[in-house]
Symmetry: C2
Subunit: 290 residues, 2 copies
DNA sequence: GCATATATCTGACTTTAGTCAGATATTGTC
DNA sequence: GACAATATCTGACTAAAGTCAGATATATGC
């Protein structure tokens, strides 16, 4: 009753019936699930017909008929793709938007009901984030973004909050050497966010100086996404960006309270060097030649 | 990107595709899902045809045909129910057992792969337990069991481990007044375990003395199942059992370090009374007249 | 410009799932 | 023992999903 495999399978059973319940409530709108899935995929921004087909794993004949059903109902319109006249683009009509919103409302209501039924809301949400990240790991995408974007600012906020929790003396970003956003966008540097199905789950900044020397800053992985090798992927991505920008030497500072970070740098080929700045927070300094 | 509803829905999406992947791998055995589900239900010990039908939510006509398909394949046998000749009992043949084992192997392999892919195994399992308990709450069943059963001993082991963590001075069951198992089985007392889809997630003991006075002992709820009202259900069940046994006065001892327990007792109509034993661990004593 | 590849559509299927109205046998109740 | 209730089965359906072999139009590489 305790073995890990049984526990995973118990989870699978619980979740299968919950998923089935949502499908059933979708059927309440009087449309077969296949058509509802296509409508929802379009509503969520998938426009390219081939892309939708791949995403839903449908045969091209079936896809074509489902599209036509929705078109006949007046819920979607299709046009040819601008650059490639073989491809088609689908988008919702006003009626389709209303119908899509009704499906969204069902999904949202189901989610709200689940949250309302349970007292341990925050713990449950954290558990769900963790599982979603673990299941969606191969689909976690690293994207270069502006450090002033919402996604980046969310990551940085979480990162500062975590430092404040983990440093004995707390953390105040104003006392630290906060990099100028311009140093972390091309051509000087870069800022990379890891997105897992819409949720930012990690980030790293490459702070350039216009010279062949740059710094890695703000490496953060969401607690729900730890243990998945994401830290390593972020460092690798930052190093690749640095190579592209012609940077020869990378440096970074960190704190020995962040033990997993120090280990990660050592395993990734970084070497410890003496202090190279007077920031009050770091006590550990690394360098890597590319 | 942060609101709880989006997080629940991200979880739903991740899990839906994982569930779909298992269904697909089941289809790889060349049998439609409906028949595979019936075979698996029988393999997992469901024998009564009506019970299987309810469990899988099938129409009786469909059920009958699926059963016959499996029978024609030589995977199951059906016999009439001993006590009621209208009902039928299904069980696996040797070939059916082999086929069932193949499905089990697929499920187990999927679970093992998931665990092997992820470094944070224990945290993930804890998260899965929590979600499975939250989803399966209405199906958590309270069952009277022998306190020496595997399920009960698992609960007690977890309970002692938790006391050891939470008491400043630790916890050694040998120093405490460990109730004799016989005092917690009928007719003197009772022991109740909460089972959620095969996993024990809570327990409570009713320790009788042969008189109209009894004690509540060993109330425990698994961390993964807290916030679901299970503690209250366990107390209610213990009180009902006490009433059945003709007990008029219930007592219990607890420790102020277990704040949520104290709150629960107060909310459930218990009143604080002076110390009534010399056990070194408790510092808080309650009584309830039934 | 021509052969080949790609994206979508159409027609003609099959399989699976699900529904519903009886038929049959058995059980429990008065 | 008659009669209603219950459990399962059968026949006759419909709807949904999925398959597959072309047809058509367009794009790409040589």
């Amino acid at each position: 009753m305790l073995d890990p495999v049984s526990r995973v399978r118990r989870f699978n059973r619980a979740v299968t019936s919950a998923v089935g319940a949502l499908d059933t409530s979708f059927l309440g709108r009087g449309r077969p699930l296949g058509a509802a899935r296509v409508l929802n995929a379009i509503g969520h921004g998938r426009a390219d017909v081939g892309d939708i087909r791949d995403y839903l794993g449908l045969d091209s004949g079936l896809m074509s008929r489902l599209l036509r059903t929705l078109e006949d109902e007046g819920l979607i319109e299709t046009t040819v793709h601008g650059g490639d006249a073989r491809r088609r683009i689908a988008r919702l009509t006003a009626a389709g938007r209303r119908e899509f919103n009704a499906y969204e409302a069902l999904s949202n209501q189901q989610a709200r009901d689940f949250l309302a039924r349970n007292a341990q809301r925050d713990a449950l949400l954290a558990a769900m984030d963790m599982i979603a990240s673990a299941l969606g790991r191969e689909s976690t995408a690293l994207t270069e973004m502006d450090p002033r974007s919402d996604e980046a600012r969310y990551c940085l906020g979480e990162y500062y909050a975590e430092l404040a929790r983990r440093f004995k003396q707390g953390f105040d970003v104003k006392l630290s050497r906060d990099p100028d956003a311009k140093d972390m966008v091309r051509p000087r540097g870069s800022f990379i966010v890891a997105m897992s199905d819409g949720l930012p789950v990690g980030c790293v900044g490459l702070k350039g100086s216009g010279s062949e020397l740059a710094e890695i800053k703000r490496l953060w992985v969401a607690p729900s996404a730890r243990g998945l090798g994401l830290g390593r992927r972020l460092i690798d991505a930052a190093e690749s960006a640095a190579r592209e920008l012609g940077i020869a030497v990378l440096r970074l500072d960190t704190n020995s309270a962040l033990a997993e970070a120090g280990q990660l740098y050592r395993k990734s080929g970084w070497t410890e060097i003496p202090r190279f700045n007077d920031d009050p927070y770091p006590d550990l300094f690394f360098e890597k030649r590319l």
